[in-house]
Structures are given as C-alpha cells and as structure tokens.
Amino acid sequence: MNATILGPSRFGLGALGHAAPPADPRAGLLAELERYQPAPAPIAGLPGSGPIIRDLAAALEERKEQRKAQRQSGRDKAAADSPPEPPAAMPMMQAMPAAPAKPGEAAPSPELKAARAAVRDHYLAAVAARTQVALVSDTPFAERLVHFWANHFAVSVDKLQIIPLAGALEFEAIRPNLMGGFGDMLLAVEQHPAMLLYLDQAQSVGPDSFAGQVAGRRGKRQVGLNENLAREILELHTLGVRTVYTQQDVTEFARALTGWTVAGLKPSKVLPTDRPGHVFAPLIHQPGERLVLGRRYHQAGAEQARAILADLAVHPATARHIATKLARHFAADDPPPALVARLEQAFLTTGGQLPALYRVLVDSPECWTGAKFRNPWDWGIAAMRALDIKTLPAKATSGLFTTLGQQVWKPGSPAGYDDTAAAWAAPDALLRRVEAAGRVGQKAGVIDARALAERLYGTTLSPATRVALAGAESPAQAVALFLVSPEMLRR
C-alpha cells in the first residue's frame, strides 16, 4: 500500500472524507508534531480536576448520608446486616444512574440522584470532548499518540472515583506533556488525582509516619501501606513486567510514595480543604532513606519519590519497554526487533525525549507496511471521519463505543486495552461493527460510497470491496459495506 493512503490510517485516525490526500505524508506527519494543540477548544472548555473532585466529594457524602439514615431507621434487619461501606472498586458505571432500590434499601434521595448525575455528566462530557477532537483534528498523528499514552497510563471507570476523573488524567497529564520528555509525562500522571485514586495511592499511609503511628496506637489496622501504584509504575508504566525489579523494590518504592495523595474528597485533619487535587501530605509519609533498584534515596518528603521516578524514567528497561509498545502500536502485533532497537536507542540518547521517538516511527519502513487491525475506538473514529461526521451527542458517543466493545476509559485493568488483533478481531465484535455500520449507513445521508472509497483508497481498493460497493442495493447499504470493508477494518 502506498504511503499516501497508509499514512492517515496507520499514523493518524483515518482520512477525512472530504480531505485531499497529503502531498508528502512523512513531512506532513512531522509537521503535525509542531502544530499539535494540547488544549483544543472542546477540551479547554471542560472543568479541571479541582471542580470535578468537589462534585465527586458531594456524591460520596450524599451516599454516606443515605446509608447512615438507612442504618438509623433500622426498619429492615437485612439492610443493617449488609456491609456499611462498599468495596472501593465495586460501583460500576451502570450503577451510577438512579438504579432501582434493592430490597431493604431506600430509594436514592433527590440530593444523591443529583450528585450521581453530576458525576456521570463529567464522564460523558469528557468522552464527547475527546471524540469531538478526534473527529475533526488536523493533527491526527498527535491525537493517536495521546490515545496511545492514555492507554499506556490507563485508568478505568469501573471504579466510582474514576468515572468523572478519567478524562482529566488524559487532558491534564498526557496532553500537555505529549511533546516533552517521558519523565515529565510520568511525573504528571503519577501525581494526577485519577491515578492516585485508581491505584489506591491516595490511602497509602507510612506505618512510621505521624498519622500511621497515631492510628497504630488506636489499633486502626486498616491504615497502612498500599503497594498498588508502586507496583504498577514498575510493571506497567516504566520498567516492564519480569524485568529488573524485585518485591523489595516494590515495597521500598511504595514507602517512598506515601504522602502522595488527593485532597478535597472527604473531611480531613491532615489534608488541606481549600484546594482539591493532588497534595503531598507529610503527616502520612514514611520517614527514612529508601533503597530502590540498588540505589539509595535519602531525600525528604515528596522529593524522594520524585527522584525515584526520574531515575525510572530513563532506565534502560523503561527504554526497551516503551520502544516495544510503540513498535507494536505503529508497526505490527509482533514488534519488529530492528525497530524496537532503533526506538530504544533514540530513547536512551535523548533521555526519553518523546518527539525523537515519534520521528523514528515516521522514518522507519516497518511502520509503512503490513496492517494493524483497528480496535473499536479506532474503527469508530475512522468511520466517522470518513463520513465527515463532525459531532455526536455525548450519550450517543459513549453508547457507541460501549456497544462496539470498548467503552472509553474502561479497559478494566491498569494494563490498558490490548494492542493486538487477537483482542479485537472476534466474531461477535465483527458482527457488532456490521450492525453499527448498517445503522450508520441508514443515517449517513446522501453519500456515494463508491466515490468515497475511491478517494480514500484509490487503486489499493481490493476487488472484493469494489465489487461489493458497486453491487450494493442502496447508497445506505454501500456506506455500511464500505465501513466494514477489509480496508476500513485495518489501519
């Protein structure tokens, strides 16, 4: 396939239906790196994580009030016997809209309903903004990189606190650092309230910290160290699984991270109440020197974990890990070793300057051959860009990707969505795409799919697709067939 046709789908988000193909695809991609906008209008107009945390706090408070009132009423023994606090990871997105009351549970109060709606609306608005930017962007290579990194540093909205904050992580930590150093992005992500809440860092307390000692004397056993974030930083965000770290490194890193928390979610004696968001709380930080990957960190307070992160960000294992993931995303499910080596080298020589890696990708022949199977997000966005659909109602957007099997920001695990065909090229998923394409075709209006396919794929269009489009029984059916053609399913 020639570069003019492959470029917009491999590197970008799929060609826009009306746009002329790029004259020089490689130069065009490199120019995008200069033109990229960290905060385009739909995103700039959203509230930041501060106001979102206030709304989230209100929802949590209302829920607590309701439970309290219910327990006090004591009219139903079964309700009183049920666990007073749900496990943190339990509430699903689906549970957020006013769910019917369970037996023995009072119907949600109007205040709780409103608070839940506010939380859900933050999510829907963020999904809509992300989609809106993707649909119209003229720097789609940069936008693909945003999506790549957001998936590398994945949070998942199957946890209540993450529902309103997942978008903010992408908008506040990923986007501003897209053209910077890997270490800058890493630090911004690990300090973001969404990540601190998702991987339980916010509750992690150093056993020998002031607060830890007080709690220990009072016999509060649940207060203590949580290793979740420390482990996932080593395993997923930086070095990679089964590389150079040990359990001892995880524990030591977790100790160093204590104090990195989120203010504003609930009344607190140790946290500031006037500025919701990430804070360092010295009263819960584990004092003392730490030993991580054989290196001693004697810094005090927040500087300690910062120093560890800075070293992790330029570690050779990190370079290899990031190089492998980028190569998998832009070249092939089985990353070509030569490309991985080139990316790794660029990472190490520049200290993880991300644009240097992006240039290697554009300049590498491995990224200009073969085909990647589009995941549902990629496919949905590419389909809408091809049809020049510029905007979509928030609920419809969220619903579309859920139906296609990839709810936005809900990979279900901190490992993010899988980046290989095996995860997405499944029978039912394919059927759903065909059904969705049928519906989109019906609503697409007057579009000649034959001409569109010609414009987007030219002479590379396969005979099978050409025959299918020419023989379709209606323009709407031809649009549907084009959207699920082998060409459109891949990038």
Partner: protein
C-alpha cells in the same frame, strides 16, 4: 402501542422540518392521500406479475416459474405472485392497476444511479439535487402537502425545499440479512476475516430468530403508517422505503418473504386508512428490473424493465397495462432483460395529475424533467 399523538410528537422530534402547522384547522377540503413505496434493490417484476402466457417464460425462469402453475391468469397472460393475497383482492375489487415492462430513463444497472434517477426525476444520475415527490408538495393545498418519510432519514425523492418530516418505526422490515450476506461475499477472499465472519454468523444463527425482524413487522408498519395519516393533522403524502429486493440468490424464498411483507403492509394500510382508502393512491415502483433468465444461484441479476403497481380506492384498477415486448431472445433488451415499453415517470406523473386534478403535461415536466414519456391518462377514477 403508541397513540397517534405520541407518534407525531416523536416524529416531530426526529427532524427540524416537522409537520408544519401543529393544529392546522381541518380545512373543508379533500381527503386525498398519496403513498410512494420504493422497492430498493431492483424488484423482479417478472416474478411479481409473471407473464405465464409468454411462451419463453417457463424456459427462462425454470424452477422459479413453478410457483405459478395453475394460478388464474389476469389480463389474459399474467399470474400474480401467490404471496400477494391482499393485492390480489384489491385487483379483484378494481383497486389495483399493474403497469408492466416499465422503466425510468436510466439504462445502466447500478442500484444507486438507478434509484437516483427514479427518485430525482432527471435523465441522468445526480443531475438534480431534489426529488420529484418534494417538487410535488408546493403544488398541493397546504392541508394535503404534509409529507412524511417512513425512514430514519429523508430519502432522495422527498428531499428538497418543501418541509418534510421523517420517522422510522422500529418494526419496519430491514435488509439486515441481505447486508450480512453481502459482507460474507466481501470477506470471502480475506484469510483473516472470512473464518471470523463464518463463526459470527454461526453464533448468530444459534441465537435463534431474536436478531431477525419480528413476523408481522410489515403489517405492524403498515398499521403505523395508516395511523400517522389519520386525522386533521396527519400526514397526507408518505414515502416508504422497502429494502431487500436484490435477489441474486435463493430468490424463491426471499421474494416470497419480501412480497409477503409488502402485501401485509398494503393490507394494513387499506384497513388502517378505513374510509380514507377510497381517496388514496399508492404507487409501488423500483429502480429497474432483473434479468429475464434465472442465473446459476437460484436468483436473477440486474436487468432493465420491471413492474409498477398503482393501488388504492382512487385507482381505476382491475387492469394490466402492458405493451408486452415479449421474452424471445430477439425481443429482449441487450439480449438479457425485459425491454421497457412504458415510462415509469409517465405513469407516476399521469396518476398524480389525475389524483390532484393538476395539468398532466406541466406536472410531468416539473416532476420528471428527464422523463421520456407523455403522462399516461385514465389511471384514476374520475
């Protein structure tokens, strides 16, 4: 079941056009109604109204012709497809008029282009941006010009400057099965997608009929449309899209289902419209016909002339209009298709002119500037 007001409210939400005056005073005026049903995909006129009296027919159609053995002939040589029970009843009651061997000016065999010519009324595809049905609306009294498209979007025939609304009842039969079959063909040569798709279809068939259209869906749709055409603020001009007529294979079963659905919808329209049926004109037409001969997969391929049906209490029916061109090899168009001897645009323009008491020549020129025939007369009861 929604009541009519709810349906109208929902319909009004679908498009900005909406029904114009929400509470238009019931003008002392006529109750004339017009329904255009487009059969997308090239419906086989030679099966809908089979020319059993043509000596070449049985040989060309082989097993496809078997269904008509022993059926009574109408117009001296035609047998109506057995699935068309309601339509047959209308014919017997003098409310169905068949016009055979008709075609638009279009002579190639692309569905899109053919439908575009049929719907826009130009001589060539994409020459006109608006459709003939929309151009009709300003010529009608306001009370009779409230137009509705029964589909998710407004189809080309109804597109234009006159306000139109659209509403798609969920029960409308769709071409889902057909789309799936076409996807199968498109993936046949793709080593990764072909097996995946096979599994998907297998799983789907195991899931049973849940994914398929409900039986009775077409009748339900017909009832719904009739309901939306009732009352002083109901629609008076309606376009219904019927998909799934592109029967390249397994035509016998598919056409049986397609015609059965169409027939049920028409029966439901007649019942639902009640007294208004007597002043209703329904035109059923398709972009082109199918090959005279059956192909190797139990179906037929894209052809040229086909059948148009005029139905309703307003129609001077009980007749077949045909200058039968014959099906012998020398009589076929390009040695393969039924040769067109009448113009579908002349039929539609002529019927509408009589239905709405408009000047036939001027109406034909306005609706079908690319038309090839003189507006036909004597189609509607005086």
């Amino acid at each position: 079941m929604l009541n009519r007001r709810q349906i109208l409210t929902r319909a009004a939400l679908v498009t900005a056009g909406s029904f114009v005056p929400r509470l238009a005073l019931a003008r002392p005026g006529t109750e004339r109604r017009f329904i255009f049903i487009i059969q997308r995909g090239a419906a086989d006129g030679l099966s809908t109204l089979a020319p059993m009296g043509d000596p070449a027919y049985a040989g060309l159609r082989r097993e496809l012709a078997a269904d008509y053995a022993g059926l009574p002939l109408i117009g001296g040589m035609f047998a109506l497809h057995p699935a068309l029970k309601e339509v047959g009843g209308l014919y017997a009651a003098g409310q169905a008029l068949f016009v055979h061997a008709v075609a638009s000016p279009y002579r190639d065999r692309s569905h899109f282009d053919g439908q575009n010519v049929l719907e826009c009324g130009a001589a060539r595809p994409y020459q006109l941006a608006d459709g003939w049905l929309n151009r009709l609306l300003p010529l009608l009294p306001a009370a009779e010009a409230r137009a509705l498209a029964v589909s998710a979007t407004v189809p080309a025939a109804l597109r234009g400057s006159a306000p139109v609304t659209s509403y798609a009842p969920s029960g409308l039969p769709d071409a889902n099965e057909d789309l799936l079959q076409r996807v199968s063909r498109m993936y046949a040569t793709d080593p990764a997608l072909h097996p995946l798709w096979g599994e998907a279809l297998q799983a789907r068939s195991m899931a049973g009929d849940l994914a398929k259209a409900k039986p009775g869906g077409a009748a339900e749709a017909g009832r719904l449309v009739a309901q939306m055409m009732q009352g002083p603020e109901g629609a008076r001009v309606v376009m219904i899209e019927s998909n799934g007529w592109d029967t390249h294979s397994a035509q016998k079963a598919r056409l049986n289902a397609q015609l059965g659905g169409l027939d049920a919808a028409i029966g439901a329209l007649r019942d639902g419209l009640g007294e208004a049926w007597s002043q209703t004109l329904v035109v059923v037409a398709t972009e082109f016909g199918r090959t005279a001969a059956a192909n190797g997969t139990g179906g037929t391929d894209h052809g040229t002339a086909s059948l148009a049906m005029l139905l309703g209490g307003a129609v001077r029916g009980g007749r077949v209009l045909a200058d039968w061109p014959g099906l012998a090899p020398a009589q076929l168009y390009e040695n393969r298709d039924l040769r067109p001897t009448r113009a579908v645009d002349a039929v539609i323009a002529g019927a509408l002119a009589e239905h709405y008491a408009l000047d036939p020549a001027r109406l034909a020129a306005r609706l079908f500037p690319g038309g090839i025939g003189k507006a036909e007369g004597g189609l509607i009861r005086a």
